[in-house]
Symmetry: C2
Subunit: 129 residues, 2 copies
């Protein structure tokens, strides 16, 4: 029995890939095409979740390193370089570069929140020691 | 010569993976460890950009399908099912489920914006025809 099953015993069985507020309101052939595309989107979303989890594992390590050496949570020089690179990669991928930048900022603000929490924990432990 | 090179001739050469506002302020060994983790983050970020581009290709198809059949841009029944699934996958991946939900909402709001734009284009073309 996994932690997941303990936490949410029903979720795994209740996902309905054909859930839609449009059910019964569109032709069967249109719904079939829609569900086929959505099945690809679902696969991509699962990949995104596991990839984001891996990214946070990496930034968690950065957070510990920064807290240990009392370095600031943010690094503006690094962030500017990352944004310029991701905008360039987005153009190559035919993704809106402005969206790529917004996306990175969204992730970075979460990462900085984590880094600050790690630094606070670190200081609290140091104060106790 | 690619479109990318025409648009931003210098970007490809100017990315500095060691760009940091901390340069010169930390031990060489700490900086080395930081850059090693950041190199993995850079690889993950490139993957995320190309994966997001692929996701928008799929939702673009959904947008055209919805515009053609005059279906609404959003689908609350679908979104609720997606959110529940992604929260469950996030737990499995040890990613904060609340963050996974925020992330999906961030993506969905961009997708709905695209769908509305596609629907407007479609109506404008229909009006001209």
């Amino acid at each position: 029995m996994t932690e997941l099953n303990n936490a949410h015993p029903d979720d795994a069985e209740t996902y309905d890939p054909s859930a839609s507020s449009l059910a019964g309101q569109v032709d069967a052939s249109v719904m079939e095409e829609l569900l086929s595309i959505r099945s690809s989107i679902d696969n991509i979303d699962a990949t995104l979740v596991f990839l984001l989890a891996e990214r946070f594992k990496a930034t968690q390590k950065v957070g510990v390193l920064k807290a240990t050496h009392k370095l600031p949570a943010g690094d503006p020089g690094r962030e500017a370089a990352q944004i310029a690179r991701l905008r360039r990669l987005a153009e190559e991928a035919h993704l809106d570069p402005a969206f790529a930048e917004k996306f990175l900022n969204f992730i970075i603000s979460e990462v900085i929140r984590h880094h600050e929490a790690i630094a606070e924990d670190h200081q609290a432990s140091a104060a106790k020691a």
